[in-house]
């Protein structure tokens, strides 16, 4: 267990303590990077956004109001930056973004060949739409509560539950298309 809380680190960062920033970065970098990678679909872009997130933390640490946990605040910043970067890229490319389209490669019909059911579910998770992908990721991997998911996604708690339900329903449909009938929905 870390002796110094995230909140204490943030207080020190607000005073210009670089070691505190490095400590907070070290604590959250892997999960945030993976969260960003799922949104950006590109390792370099995910790393760039990760740097930008902590640069914002360096500049705005004094403004943190503890309405949410530091971790949830970081996810909210990360998501905002990832979506901004995506919009910017769409604007520059003047066309639809591949991130908004479910990954066409290795589609559900092909993953049937893969014996392991867990692997098939993993593949289907990659084919979810971005809104469904992020809610499932935040709940299952990032272990965010209903309230925290709502804070990151900026949606009401009831919408969080509804979105999670439809994300899971879509996942089951992808699994069914891949030949895995789970008897639900």
């Amino acid at each position: 267990m870390d002796a110094v809380s995230d909140e204490d680190l943030l207080t020190n960062i607000a005073k210009g303590d670089r070691r505190a920033l490095e400590a907070l970065y070290g604590r959250h970098r892997v999960k945030l990077y993976r969260f960003l990678l799922r949104l950006a679909n590109n390792e370099v872009a995910a790393e760039d956004i990760l740097s930008d997130v902590f640069f914002d933390v360096w500049q705005q640490a004094g403004r943190f109001e503890a309405r949410s946990s530091v971790s949830t605040w970081l996810y909210a910043i990360a998501r905002f930056k990832a979506l901004s970067a995506r919009r910017e890229r769409q604007h520059l490319e003047l066309g639809p973004n591949e991130d908004m389209i479910e990954d066409p490669g290795d589609g559900p019909e092909n993953v049937l060949q893969k014996a392991d059911k867990g692997k098939i579910i993993e593949d289907c998770l990659k084919h979810l739409s971005p809104p469904h992908r992020e809610v499932i990721d935040l709940v299952y991997y990032h272990e965010k509560s209903i309230r925290e998911v709502g804070e990151v996604l900026r949606i009401p708690e009831n919408t969080v539950k509804t979105r999670m339900f439809y994300a899971r329903k879509h996942l089951s449909e992808l699994l069914l298309a891949a030949g895995v009938d789970r008897g639900w929905p």
Binding site: Y25, R34, L125, R168
Partner: protein, 228 residues
């Protein structure tokens, strides 16, 4: 036969299961879910599906790797770059500053203002010296001739300075460039400017030498003294 109320309860509980699986429910909801799981076989079956999904999600994320050291290097490069930009933005372009303020003044107005400023400056120089450096101790005029960091967070060595009334903007600009100095603040009362003479903290001896050298420029400098 399932009633509407039972179905509504089932749907509500099923909606909580993903967070139950992640251990992110309140103790009250945990109790509620556990009691329901004990009496509802179909809910247990749905929960098993969620456990499968969660395990796959964790495995998939674990395969995504970790950020390279480049991300942290970029972060600190951004911070260093921002820190380097900040002091520059506080510096004053003296030529532009003087031109902006005096461009509409007539020569006679400038001369009168200069005389008034000169008179005030002589009186206030002594007051300022006392105010900035405090009363003399052990024969020393000030405790530290240079300050590594001021109350406003500026780093370096500073002097208080006033220019002769008929010094032109070009002369002042030239003088500052020759001495590698920058106006940081001013003018305060008496036409005094706060001028940075080095971006590092200098020793008393070095600062005295700079002040003495500046005093020799009497055609431009009317007053100069060390500042904290």
């Amino acid at each position: 036969m399932t009633t509407i109320v039972e179905q509504a309860e089932f749907d509500h509980l099923e909606g909580l299961l993903p967070w139950y699986a992640s251990g992110m429910l309140t103790p009250e909801d945990v109790l509620h879910v556990e009691r329901a799981l004990a009496r509802m076989p179909e809910l247990r079956r749905r929960y098993d599906l969620i456990l499968e999904e969660r395990a796959a999600s964790v495995n998939m994320h674990e395969s995504l790797g970790t950020p390279s050291p480049r991300a942290l290097q970029k972060l600190f490069a951004q911070i260093d770059s921002a820190a380097a930009e900040a002091p520059k933005s506080r510096r004053v372009d003296v030529g532009r500053w003087l031109a902006d303020r005096f461009s509409n003044w007539q020569p006679s107005s400038l001369a009168l203002a200069g005389m008034a400023v000169a008179f005030l400056a002589i009186i206030e120089a002594g007051l300022l010296a006392t105010m900035y450096f405090g009363p003399a101790k052990d024969g020393a005029m000030y405790q530290t001739a240079s300050a590594s960091k001021t109350a406003t967070g500026q780093v370096g060595t500073f002097v208080l300075m006033a220019f002769v009334p008929d010094a032109t903007a070009a002369q002042i600009q030239h003088f500052l460039e020759a001495n590698k100095a920058s106006i940081i603040e001013g003018p305060i009362a008496g036409g005094i400017f706060r001028v940075q003479v080095c971006d590092k903290a200098l020793t008393t001896k070095d600062l005295d030498a700079i002040v003495a050298s500046m005093r020799n420029e009497s055609t431009i400098v009317r007053f100069v003294a060390p500042s904290k």
